[in-house]
């Protein structure tokens, strides 16, 4: 079985901020990546700075940003689940688990990236991470991919310990940076425009660690 990465996150930009560098490294080495994106982030409060989106235009704008970011990172295959932002935990889990299971069987990934249930802050992250792990655990033990779970809750290391996977992504910092900038409506507020260069400069502010390292916990499913 060749290598293939399957990424499962609920919001456009989750693939970039949490693991854009790691994915870029995989893409660079020729490993195909499929991304299941749960929602279009319709309920985000960032509208650009100065804001250029509104509640009704945000979904279309974020969908276009997502496609641009995927192109920057090297994600060739994007599957949109069509769920609605902030509602995943309230949906009937069964059809969603079935859909992910079906994609797992088609794609046969060697590695799955998703959120660590309970330690990923946003209720959509925790819910979709849990559904993804449920889908993986339906596969027979020998067919199960490795799972890299992304966690960033403040207390998470106290409970789940330190991450066992720490990737140095500095070699692809420019790629991650391009993906971050592609998510304009969401990133402008984090990286205020530098008036002199007219570009956003993530490297110069508090978020610069995001361009150096990305960490994951290998998730064991039973």
């Amino acid at each position: 079985m060749g290598q293939h990465i399957l990424v499962v996150f609920p919001h456009p930009d989750d693939e970039t901020f949490g693991c854009g560098g790691t994915l870029a490294l995989f893409a660079k080495s020729g490993i195909p990546i499929t991304y299941i994106c749960g929602t279009l982030g319709q309920m985000g409060r960032n509208m650009g700075n100065p804001f250029f989106a509104n509640r009704e235009t945000l979904s279309k704008i974020r969908e276009a940003e997502l496609e641009k970011a995927c192109k920057a990172i090297g994600i060739q295959h994007l599957i949109k689940l069509g769920l609605r932002d902030k509602t995943i935990e309230f949906e009937d889990p069964e059809p969603i688990v079935n859909r992910i299971e079906q994609i797992l069987r088609e794609v046969q990934p060697s590695l799955v990236l998703t959120h660590y249930p309970g330690y990923a802050v946003h209720p959509d992250h925790n819910a979709l991470g849990e559904l993804t792990i449920k889908a993986v655990s339906r596969l027979s033990t020998q067919d199960r991919p490795t799972i890299y779970a992304h966690a960033f809750a403040r207390n998470c290391q106290d409970v789940i310990g330190p991450p066992d996977i720490v990737n140095d992504i500095s070699a692809v910092a420019d790629v991650k940076c391009a993906a971050i900038l592609a998510h304009r409506s969401q990133s402008q507020v984090m990286f205020p425009r530098d008036n002199k260069t007219e570009v956003n400069e993530p490297t110069k502010n508090a978020y610069s660690h995001m361009l150096q390292r990305e960490s994951f916990w290998t998730y064991r499913c039973f």
Binding site: M47, N49, P50, R55, K86, H122
Partner: protein, 116 residues
């Protein structure tokens, strides 16, 4: 969107009077408010495509603005509104943005259901 001009928004509200209309009402301090320790709690609520009919609708204040919609059996209220949009046929969008352009409150009316 544009900074609210009451002389434009008030007649726009009046166009929805006494009709069955769709309401989007929302407030949020961001999904990461508690995580980023900007606030003790993450707080938000929204109604999408609530169906209402109001008999009096008024925008007040000097900016940020308030809107109250008086219904036969109750009220719809929003405060902190700063911007409006009338760009889509049959829709009035009102929102309150903070100094970084982040949405904090929204009140929207439409003759047709809002997209899901």
């Amino acid at each position: 969107m544009h900074p609210i001009d009451r002389s434009i928004v008030q007649p726009a509200l009046d166009r929805f009077l006494n009709r069955e209309v769709y309401l989007h009402l929302e407030t949020t301090n961001g999904a990461y408010a508690a995580h980023r320790q900007e606030s003790k709690m993450t707080v938000g609520a929204y109604i999408r495509n609530g169906r209402i009919s109001f008999i009096r609708g008024t925008i007040t204040g000097e900016g940020p603005y308030r809107v109250g919609l008086k219904m036969q059996d109750g009220w719809v209220y929003a405060e902190g509104l700063t911007d409006f949009d009338l760009g889509q046929e049959g829709k009035l969008l009102l929102a309150g943005h903070d100094e970084e352009g982040r949405l904090a409150v929204a009140l929207e009316l439409s003759m047709e259901p809002f997209e899901l």
